[in-house]
Symmetry: C2
Subunit: 333 residues, 2 copies
């Protein structure tokens, strides 16, 4: 890191050479970021998956944050849910004004960490000084064996509904970011608080689950809009109905404390978004094989419901009664 | 077109279904824009080229404009200069607020026209309401036979410097947009004025030149920052010098009138940008074959200079004297 971190970057050329070039990991196809294009030689027998997502200051992140790790993570999440291995990404940065070295160091450190976790690298991009909102746009590319992409459509009656990891941490993390005093109400110790904040700031889509999804999932999508809404989306696109048992939705130890405090509810956690876990459906006959393969890949998956024939979509409480979800909880129908 | 063009779009779903889905040209790989990803099955033996460029309101276009044709054109321009055929693109739209039907109709009409001209289609994307500046970001994908990408580096001493089409129209078009009264000073009739405005608003990178570049060019880049600056870039990256004869730089009939009026100068035209033509270098021995192949492809190319051994870069007037370029013209050294 420079000794003069508050210095502004001098030029786009400096920004590219000093900060962005190291993120290419020496891939010759990036042409050392000197050309306007990156060259990709697709591996034979593989399809490429393309996705793009922007994070805009004040819309997707709190002013002052530099959520570069998350910007890559949300794109990787789309790829993983499709059964793809992340390969690389194009980065478009819109800065209000020339950034400081401190800010660029933070931005590239986040990307470098995310690249390392997700196994991909920078291919190229574009930077602009706009006078507008800080915006980080990523177009990510993943690879999947030809014809093996997992889609949102494909869930069938009788399929088991699974979710990876734990749900609700990011919602609680965001709440804690906005109002740190909630820590007391949620009855959280320091470690639990940090864990929830980390899940909001540096989400970890389960890359290792991608090949398992390809093998077993009839449909999948990433949990970004909230488990409840994403389940509705999956059912709508697959033209099926189904039910989720709320007391089977997996939560972390930290979220469990918040629930036990009575200040957070499972309805709130499944309505909140940004989990960047995978919601998948698996034929009943493959369910235990799927669970075993996920375990072998080091990813926790939990059966939380079932796809049904009728188009009705229901969320059930511990007694099996249908409830109506709202953003703050749920009520009996 | 709807009868109620001033109505606001109701939702992102409506925007996607009614306005964006038709731009996919029915490509099954787009998954009907229902998933977060597009699937691309790369043609065997081809490399993929990736590029991305944003157009931001107030930075790259005048407030009130909806430069969707241009947003695709500037990306296609990057691909063409690399010898690639445009294939498809991801579209990221940041809207200040929910757009009207009129605005979306304009935006998609521009994209549809550009797709048709350039031979590519929409693959996927992302839309956001940001409260910020209207921003159109495109990540475009082109295909090129494996290993045949034309780079910026590669110009050799003795190579002939070529430029496609005509230079300076977009600069004059922008000047006319900002100050319509310049039309009189430039001595332009209505048709010439329209021609210059069109070159600024709907640039046409020469897609048909791509295979010719692959066969003959030692180096190439698109003319976006101004012919003079882009020539400096090409020489710097290729680690050579060279010279351009300003009186050989091709201009349109309309730009010729502006030059003849004495109110515009060739220095201004080569300093201005956004031509989205191709600047290429070709070995002397291949020069006439290159010219013939370009002619056969229906693209005008003009020899305007030569690459030299020494790192010196010169711009020459009609008498062969070196001149210093400025944004408003040039002066003798």
């Amino acid at each position: 890191m420079s000794e003069h971190t508050d210095e502004r970057i001098e030029s786009e050329a400096q920004l590219v050479e000093q900060f962005l070039l190291p993120l290419t990991n020496g891939d010759a196809g990036t042409l050392a970021l000197r050309d306007d294009c990156a060259v990709l030689s697709p591996p034979p027998g593989m399809d490429l998956l393309l996705t793009t997502d922007s994070l805009v200051e004040g819309v997707h992140f709190l002013p002052g944050d530099v959520p570069s790790f998350k910007a890559l993570a949300v794109n990787v999440s789309d790829l993983v849910a499709k059964g793809a291995q992340p390969f690389g990404y194009l980065l478009t940065l819109a800065f209000p004004s020339l950034p400081t070295r401190r800010m660029m160091t933070k931005l590239t450190a986040g990307l470098a960490a995310a690249q390392s976790v997700f196994g991909c690298h920078l291919l190229g991009g574009d930077t602009d000084l706009t006078g507008g909102l800080l915006t980080i746009t990523i177009a990510a590319i993943g690879v999947v064996p030809a014809g093996r992409t997992v889609r949102r459509a494909g869930a069938k009656p009788g399929d088991v509904v699974y979710v990876s990891g734990a749900i609700g941490d990011a919602t609680l993390g965001l709440a804690l970011r906005k109002d740190p005093s909630l820590r007391g109400g949620y009855d959280l110790d320091r470690a639990s608080t940090q864990a929830l904040l980390a899940r909001f700031e540096t989400p970890r889509p389960p890359v290792a689950l991608a090949p398992v999804l390809r093998q077993y999932a009839s449909a999948a999508l990433d949990v970004s809009d909230g488990l409840a809404k994403d389940f509705l989306t999956l059912c709508r696109v697959s033209e099926v109905g189904g039910e989720i048992e709320l007391d089977r939705v997996p939560v972390s130890a930290a979220a469990g404390r918040a629930l036990a405090s009575g200040r957070a509810s499972i309805g709130q956690l499944v309505a909140g978004g940004e989990d960047y876990e995978v919601l998948a459906t698996v034929p009943q006959a493959q369910a235990s094989a799927f669970e075993g393969a996920a375990r072998a890949a080091g990813v926790t998956v939990t059966a939380i419901g079932r796809i049904a024939d009728e188009r009705n979509i229901r969320f059930l409480d511990a007694e099996g009664n249908a409830v109506r979800l709202s953003s703050t909880g749920w009520e009996h129908l």
